[in-house]
Amino acid sequence: MSVPNEGNDMSSSSDAQLSSHVFGDLLDSIIVDVASECHRIAKLGLDRNFEEEEEELRLSAQARVRVADPSNSGEANSKYVVDIFGQNHPSVASEVFECMNCGRSIVAGRFAPHLEKCMGKGRKARLKVTRSSTAAQTRNSRGNSASTYSTYSNSNSTSRLSNGASGVAGEEYSNGALEEP
């Protein structure tokens, strides 16, 4: 890295201090933003994963599947395999749980196709608008599947899914700008 003012130590160190101060300022603002977002989600009860029992059910269901798998290979009759809880493992996952995206009850065996439709891989899902408040801001570009999910809680996942990450960041900005008094 090139150092522009080598002769003037005082100004370069206070420059560094100034830059750090500005950076700290920016970071603080962003932390406050994240805090207010989480606060809002908590108070409005929008966080559907909040109930612990649900998490544990899902985790134990996953664990059951994983444990049952290696023991399947040695068994003659896989229908009577017993897992660590002493339970039989059905051939098709029949556990019903809640989709974290749309909140519907889904059978585990049908979860993958459901997610396809729910999260926008399918053609029809792209036309779905999830929240009425953001409908006005949704841009009607045909190739942009990220535009239907411009709410706070979903913007994280869509910015990773879509290629135009800057487009989502721009929408996030416009969300904030519109809500400020």
Binding site: P4, D15, A16, L18, S19, S20, H21, V22, F23, G24, D25, L26, L27, D28, S29, I30, I31, V32, D33, V34, A35, S36, E37, C38, H39, A42, K43, G45, D47, F50, E52, N156, S159, A165, S166, A169, E172, Y173
Partner: protein, 111 residues
């Protein structure tokens, strides 16, 4: 009802006019007026989302909220929970990129 945000009281107008603006304040004004502060914030926001920092912070908040109970949490609580870990866990590359841009701005603003 408990307030969600603790704001310090607004400083008196008469008090403010007697103080000389510090260098930091002048830089801040220049940053805001030129629009560079907004651009820097958006850049930082984007980088922090990309590297998963925002998700880490949200998980921290969720854990704290679970512990304390949904209705007892204030925005200030969350800020206090996030700030130490948040400042420490910014990736070096992100920090370097932002500092570089800020320094460039400072150099151009000083002219």
């Amino acid at each position: 009802m408990r307030k969600s945000v603790n704001r310090p009281p607004t400083p008196d107008v008469a008090e403010n006019q007697e103080k000389e603006p510090t260098l930091q304040e002048l830089i801040n004004i220049e940053l805001i007026e030129s629009g560079e502060k907004e651009r820097l914030m958006e850049l930082l926001r984007e980088r922090l989302i990309e590297c998963g920092w925002k998700d880490e912070m949200k998980a921290l908040c969720r854990a704290f909220i679970k512990k304390k109970g949904r209705n007892n949490v204030t925005v200030d609580d969350l800020v206090h929970v996030m700030t130490p870990k948040g400042r420490a866990s910014v990736p070096d590359s992100v920090k370097a990129e932002l500092l570089q841009r800020i320094r460039t701005f400072l150099v151009s603003a000083a002219l």
